[in-house]
């Protein structure tokens, strides 16, 4: 029973990280139809901003500086996403394949810049000492940082849902996901919503970048690609444009992966691709996606 709890909670912790990548991807795709290959670099930029804050700006390592690193990483990722959107994406308005291609180029260029400046080696991100503590949940020994990942992801999920539900820009985003042309025809500036979605998605990715750096004990431009691929899988399984779907799919995939890896090490990635194929064959629009979108 304790193994079951351990695997479930670490699985949800992993899923929380997947959600942070996937939520932005899903919103950006749902609203703008852009498959954003640069999303992994938003993570990397956020992670390096967090690293910069926690090693260059402050010199102590406690809970508050880590929270500061999360915020700085999130803002860095969000602002960088905004720059990418303004510089390249808006120029290719409505050319979806070209937009996807140009984000591939951005990912290559920015990845090479980060690699050239900071080398491709893993750089250690300082974390508070309590990160290596463990807690006992009904006999299962669980690393305490997993709860942090879950907490941060849950907080961002609530914030995003609140923004989508209760603000005017959120209303425009939701309407835009449903039918962008109708929103434009009503004289509402959707471009503002595009920028908002890129900032929000970049913010989540930046926070995710700092957390994955803590999870894998360091920052490197090379790791973003793997997380991005999981982000894509989560988005497809959860349904494009649905934040709730992303959250659900991220949990499902995180837990499935941990269980598969527990029984046969290395099997996790394989099982997930089968899960993806199964979802696509039975429900091509994803778990919570709409049929027409």
């Amino acid at each position: 029973m304790d193994t079951f709890i351990l695997i479930s909670i670490t699985g949800i912790g992993l899923g929380a990280l997947y959600f942070l990548v996937a939520s932005g991807l899903s919103l950006i795709y749902g609203l703008m139809g852009v498959l954003n290959f640069a999303h992994g670099t938003f993570m990397s930029v956020g992670a390096y901003m967090g690293l910069w804050f926690s090693t260059q700006v402050v010199h102590t390592t406690n809970t508050w500086t880590f929270i500061g690193a999360l915020i700085v990483g999130g803002l860095g990722g969000g602002l960088f996403a905004l720059i990418v959107e303004q510089l390249v994406i808006t120029r290719l308005y409505e050319r979806h394949i070209d937009q996807a291609l140009v984000t591939v180029g951005v990912a290559l260029v920015v990845g090479a810049m980060l690699g050239g400046w900071f080398t491709n080696d893993l750089r250690l991100l300082p974390t508070p000492t309590w990160f290596i503590n463990i807690v006992k949940v009904r006999g299962a020994i669980i690393p305490v940082d997993r709860f942090l990942y879950i907490g941060v992801a849950a907080l961002l999920l609530v914030v995003m849902l609140a923004i989508l539900k209760f603000t005017r820009i959120g209303l425009i985003i939701r309407a835009g996901v449903e039918n962008r042309h109708m929103v434009t025809a009503l004289g509402i500036n959707v471009r503002l919503a595009f920028s908002a979605v890129f900032f929000l998605g970049g913010f989540a990715a930046g926070v995710g970048g700092v957390l994955t750096a803590a999870y894998q004990n360091g920052v490197s431009p090379l790791t973003a690609g793997t997380w991005l691929i999981y982000g894509f899988i989560v988005v497809v399984v959860g349904g494009m444009g649905s934040i709730g779907g992303s959250a659900l799919a991220a949990m499902l995939i995180g837990i499935t992966k941990q269980f598969a890896n527990y029984y046969i090490p290395g099997l996790g990635d394989f099982v997930i691709v089968f899960l993806l194929a199964a979802v696509l064959l039975t429900k091509p629009q994803g778990l919570l996606g709409k049929v027409s979108a």
């Binding site: 260029v109 050239g116 990635d269």
Partner: protein, 340 residues
Amino acid sequence: MLRWKYSRPLLGIIVALLAVGPLFTFGPLHGPGLQQTLAVAFLYGALALTYDLLFGFTGLLSFGHALFFASGMYLTTIFVNTSHINLFLSSFLAIGITGVLAVLIGSASLRTKGITFAMVTLAFGEAGHVIISRNFGNLTNGENGLPINADRIPQIFIGVVNTKYLYWLALVTLIFVYAAIWWVTESSAGRVFSALRDNETRVAVLGLNPTRFKLVAFVISAVLASGVGVSMVLVSGGSAPRFADAGTTIALLLMVILGGAVTRWGAVLGGIFYSIASTRLQDLSQSTALDSIPKIIKGPLSEPAFTLGLIFIFIVMFAPGGLSGAYYRVRFRYLNRSSK
């Protein structure tokens, strides 16, 4: 009159020059170093062409194409190393198995369209990369790659002196793939592929099954890619996981965009250019010429992806059609002027 459209005298001269190049003791093609570089470049040109069939001609943005290339490579290496069948038979088996794999993966992923299809193929390709790099079943030797057993392949492909045979092998592979793609795209099925790219609904209205034709294009390009993989095993001396990762497919995409899609020779040129440029840029970054440049610029310049990525962004945003597109634009402008 119709035949003139298909004759390419310039292309014939270039291919003939490339073919006889290594025979002379003078001239640039004599050294094994350049022969090896060009052999790899030819194979990437051929691989880019198979991707052009998928992406350019049929409009299928796949991110899993490297899987079929790598499966051709790994299956050939495994058969040659572990069983008693010769290289020739091994490569046929490898290509055949890859074809079956392509039918399975293609029919699953072609249930989706557009961007979703891109993501699904990405996931399948990544699964293949994971299988290879994690060394499932002790067949692939994991991250270290799998060298081919030199005793079990024809001796003309072994040794630095014999690099010219690898060069010719690569050139023949390229010509074969070019001819095959030419034949496919000029056939009536090729017309349906292009029609699918331009307007799938109309194809369906005409009574043709879009998914079936897409699957045909998918499988043809996968089988040809695995054939290129067989040659790559000999040229690079074995298989390695880097041939299977998403980066390879993205490189293919770059090659096709760089050279220009749908013109065939554009993709080949893009592949050759990309392959040579990435090795040359790597060499350049290790030279001392860059030492005077401050680190903030030198760092990114030492990564080939930086320069190639910038060129790529430029072409997507400002010069769609790539190299071959630019050529045709200039040529049509010239033709228009002379006809007035």
